[in-house]
């Protein structure tokens, strides 16, 4: 918990804590602040990007990143909510973290999120698919 406290204090108003429990911290971040928060997690705290999860909710399209602090076993999960469901876009973290390339390509392909600044914005799973899959994970329910 002490680690969370330091992180929360350092980030200040840039994050809005949603769920705080043993070894898990979920918080919301605005798109304009995501690079700064990720920079702190990856470069300062030396967390590892485990993966990211995109979800469609009533509020918009969410991109939830999962950063693992392997020294403590804690997970830090910054969430960016894109309210424009038609044209969701956010800053790409791939220029900072090479390991995010596939993760963001997959989210872009399945959920239609445009990652600004992604160095290789081509489909991951349907590169040679004969049909345009058109955001297959959206509007399923």
């Amino acid at each position: 918990m002490a680690d969370y406290h330091e992180f929360i204090e350092k980030m200040g108003s840039k994050i809005k804590v949603e769920i705080r429990k043993k070894r898990r911290l979920y918080f919301q971040v605005k798109n304009e602040d995501i690079l700064e928060v990720v920079d702190y997690l990856f470069n300062k705290m030396e967390c590892r990007l485990s993966t990211a999860t995109a979800t469609e909710t009533y509020h918009g399209i969410e991109a939830l990143y999962h950063f693992s602090d392997d020294n403590t076993g804690n997970y830090y999960c910054p969430r960016v909510v894109m309210k424009d469901k038609e044209n969701p876009e956010m800053n790409s973290i791939t220029p900072m973290i090479q390991g995010a390339e596939w993760i963001e390509r997959e989210m872009a392909e399945w959920w239609g999120i445009k990652f600004i600044g992604h160095p290789r914005p081509i489909p991951l799973l349907s590169r040679n698919h004969p049909e345009d899959l058109n955001k297959p994970m959206r509007c399923r329910r």
Binding site: R23, S50, T51, D70, Y75, G99, S126
Partner: protein, 402 residues
Amino acid sequence: MKIKSNLKEISNKNQIPVGPFHPLLEEAEYFNLTVDGETVVDIDMDTGWMHRGHEFISEQKSFTQSIYLVERICGICSTSHPLAFVHALEDVGNIEIPLRARYIRTLVGELERIHSHLLWVGLAGHFIGYDTVWMWAWKYREPVLQMFEIISGNRNHYGMMRVGGVGKDVDPASIPELNKILDTLVKKMNMIAKIVNDDPVLRSRLIGVGVLTKKDAIDYCAVGPTSRASGVRGDVRKDEPIDAYDLVDFDEIITKNGDVYDKFVVRVLETIESIKICRQCLNKLKEIKGPFFNNVKEISAGEGIGRYEAPRGEVFHYVRTDGTNRVVRHKVRAPSFNNIPTFQASCKGIPIADALITLAGVDPCYCCTERAIRVSDKHNKNKKIDLLKLSRDKTLYIRRNA
């Protein structure tokens, strides 16, 4: 002159397609190697050939049905996925499981690691022309599958995991037999470890091949033996010791060179550590009485992360629940998803003969379908290149000239 120079550059570079169906890949995946002469200068990867939509299907199923579904994501890691999934659901509901179930989960998970690493050791031996290692490793893997059969009734897809515990108890009467199998196995693993350590040809063939530096392992967020062989510490069993991992004694194996030899060493030594863990679990299961399952009536609405150190690295499951008996969002990330992109770093600059073992070094999944490849040379003539033969020929060359 410039045009001529560019033409020369183009004509000297050839494309070597590997896959999408190839003996080194369990699941279909396509690698396009760009080679300049004998050297790999670039690699492009194309995935998605075997996409089965597990996340989507899981969201249509109840929790218990989804356990069986995720068990079938991978035939080798058929404990890791369901275990990570139930960890995620238990994380949502803050569910505790009985002590006996913790030991059983750990036992089954470690047995899976042993058989998966032995599978890889055998295949790696085959790729570099050590067919005896291949046959031995797979021979010694067989008793591990027998142990699974004794414990769960199945050699694969054990159906052991449940939210709140495990589905089957370990029969105390079978423990002496299980211990006896481990006695045999540890002797054989020590023998394989000695071979890895002592054989000069094996060392010459694998040391310095397909190096993934520590920086690259961190940048690509690699996991499991792939990152630990590059000197990056990180093992879910140590970082977040759930189940019985905080109750057993074992070492996290880390080496520093990042080459295929170190990946070999990490896997062999991890197998020996896993046998150590299995012994401790079996001894505890003789003593501990009590239930192996807590009947969980409902999972509240919320978000949960579950993970487990699979043989290839961290398996990650994220679930979002709404209070019903199914997940509304289920994210699955297998370790190979993080490890395969590291080929961009480890394959560049290596000879073609080393490409096969480097690609196999991160232990992507394998299948038995072989595909011949054709390469156009600078005279536009097709020539057939067999990567497996190239790799084995190189070992033969070292053996004869050592």
